[in-house]
């Protein structure tokens, strides 16, 4: 019972962190607007000389961009930067002495942040749901949630590497690169070609953005398989993070007192 209360407390902390940072809402909204508008014209120019790309028409790409944007809004918290900074300054010790696993603290704080953003930008999702139907919308909600949870866990996993590197710049760049090209953030992952996709589909990344959208566009077909795959990946990443954190903890040195 106490453990659940602590988790809820961290979740609320995440919601509060996001609520009080008003500037970030304007920034997120504008960044998303710019991305959508300019990618819209990019794909429009691409489709001016062809009707179908990867079996999708222009209208499908527009819906893809909208749904991708919504998921990106849930995945914006820079864990690597903040954990890296805490390690550099030594502030990490405050989190480590709490009577709760560090990974759990981070996970629930991130879920709180994602939950706040999901609600804040929900009118946009309601607007898009008209393009994918009820079945598509429900499957998007389920797989989008699992995709976001996988992303959060992957982000925390990557952030743990800052225990060794102490600086987060390179790690953050690596994570962003992976997401940009393998998760389906900017374009459907299967556009990379059948050989590349055959390899990427066995990773946790397409399940973060590409698969939730693909299943939604197909009216919910393949929902069960995608959901099970993503649950497995979320579990694997939690296990890997746990392992990595315990290895990292051995390397933590506290100077002074």
């Amino acid at each position: 019972m106490r453990a659940i209360k602590l988790k809820i407390a961290w979740l609320i902390a995440g919601v509060k962190v996001q609520y009080f940072d008003k500037g970030i809402h304007i920034d997120t909204l504008l960044r998303g607007g710019i991305q959508f508008a300019l990618m819209y014209y990019f794909w429009k120019a691409v489709f001016s000389s062809t009707d179908l790309i990867g079996g999708r028409d222009f209208g499908t790409y527009v819906t893809y961009l909208m749904l991708s944007l919504y998921l990106q809004w849930l995945m914006g918290y820079p864990n690597i930067h903040f954990i890296g900074r805490d390690i550099k300054t030594g502030a990490i010790v405050n989190a480590l002495i709490r009577p709760m696993d560090y990974g759990v603290q981070m996970r629930y704080k991130n879920i709180g942040i994602a939950l706040f953003n999901a609600l804040l930008f929900s009118p946009f999702l309601i607007f898009i749901s008209g393009r994918i139907g009820l079945k598509g919308s429900l499957s998007f909600l389920l797989l989008g949630t699992l995709g976001t949870l996988t992303y959060i866990q992957f982000d925390i996993f990557m952030a743990y590497f800052t225990f060794w590197t102490e600086n987060g710049w390179g790690i953050a760049l690596l994570k962003n690169g992976i997401l940009m090209f393998f998760s389906g953030k900017l374009f459907p992952t299967d556009l990379l070609g059948p050989h590349a996709y055959a390899l990427i589909k066995f990773s946790p990344f397409p399940g973060m953005i590409f698969r939730p959208i693909q299943v939604a566009l197909n009216g919910g077909d393949g929902l069960l398989g995608a959901a099970v795959t993503q649950c497995v990946w979320a579990g694997v990443l939690i296990g890997l993070s746990h392992f990595l954190f315990h290895r990292a903890q051995k390397d933590v040195m506290i100077n002074g007192g």
């Binding site: 500037g23 991305q35 790309i53 390179g170 790690i171 760049l173 374009f187 070609g193």
Partner: protein
């Protein structure tokens, strides 16, 4: 001027020392920033495997444009990229330390930390320019392209100084810096694909067309519009003076962080 050069030298040496401390992260970042460029190019290759042209630009032309924008953005990052840290300095109390220093605060913020990652991108961008431009563009006009680029980088720097100044008017909470950075990601595409209104904004309002589209188009098609260049030079001069003044005025609102 001599004092500024001495300071710049000190800042660079300090930063090199920091990089030696965070060696692993630096090496990862260096490799990954290279991989990012490769992936960007791969994305364009994937799109061009489905179509022959985008907005009238063929594959090599778009790659050339990509190289041009990468070089100019790397130049901006090297000279002004640390402006993005201003928000962090304001919150951490670092800004107070910067203001104690007997040098121009804007200069101190710009060079408080230096990143060599843009140098990496600069080299890659130049390589892309050479590979895709070789035997296809008129290199004898590269001087004109350089002038366009200089106007683009200088104007962008002034716009970013203005964007950073917004922090002082929003209780350090908001700056459009990252929104502009997001916009810059799309300068790798030919601006002719955007509607006329957006094209005008990106050429005359926020002259980002000078960062790639105009110089690349000039070199590819041997088409230079002198009126654009004159406008760009005037814009860069006015923006520089105006942004410095706005930053100084904005700085007077700094209240400290009680640290």
């Amino acid at each position: 001027m001599a004092g500024k050069i001495t300071l710049l030298h000190t800042f660079i040496m300090m930063h090199l020392k920091t990089m030696r401390v965070y060696k692993k992260d630096f090496l990862i970042g260096l490799v990954v920033s290279l991989i990012t460029v490769v992936f960007d190019l791969l994305f364009l290759k994937v799109v061009f495997s489905h179509v022959d042209q985008i907005g009238g630009w063929t594959e090599w032309q778009l790659m050339f444009l990509y190289g041009m924008v990468t070089v100019n953005l790397a130049m901006f990052q090297m000279l002004y990229g640390n402006l993005r840290s201003l928000k962090g300095y304001l919150f951490s109390g670092e800004m107070e330390r910067i203001l104690w220093q007997p040098c121009c605060p804007l200069f101190a913020v710009r060079f408080r930390a230096l990143s060599v990652a843009p140098l990496n991108r600069l080299i890659v961008g130049m390589t892309v320019l050479m590979v895709y431009g070789s035997g296809r563009v008129n290199w004898s006009e590269v001087g004109v392209a350089f002038m366009y680029s200089a106007v683009g980088v200088s104007s962008l720097a002034s716009i970013m100084v203005l964007a950073s100044s917004v922090l002082f008017y929003t209780h350090y909470l908001y700056t459009p810096y990252d929104n502009i950075t997001e916009l810059l990601k799309y300068m790798h595409y030919p601006l002719s694909i955007f509607p006329p209104g957006v094209f005008k904004v990106l050429t005359l309002g926020l002259p980002f067309a000078f960062l790639g589209y105009l110089p690349a188009k000039g070199l590819i098609y041997a088409e230079w519009e002198l009126s654009f260049l004159i406008y760009g030079i005037l814009f860069a001069i006015v923006a520089k003076v105006f942004s410095n003044r706005v930053f100084r005025k904005a700085l007077s609102r700094f209240e400290g962080s009680n640290i």
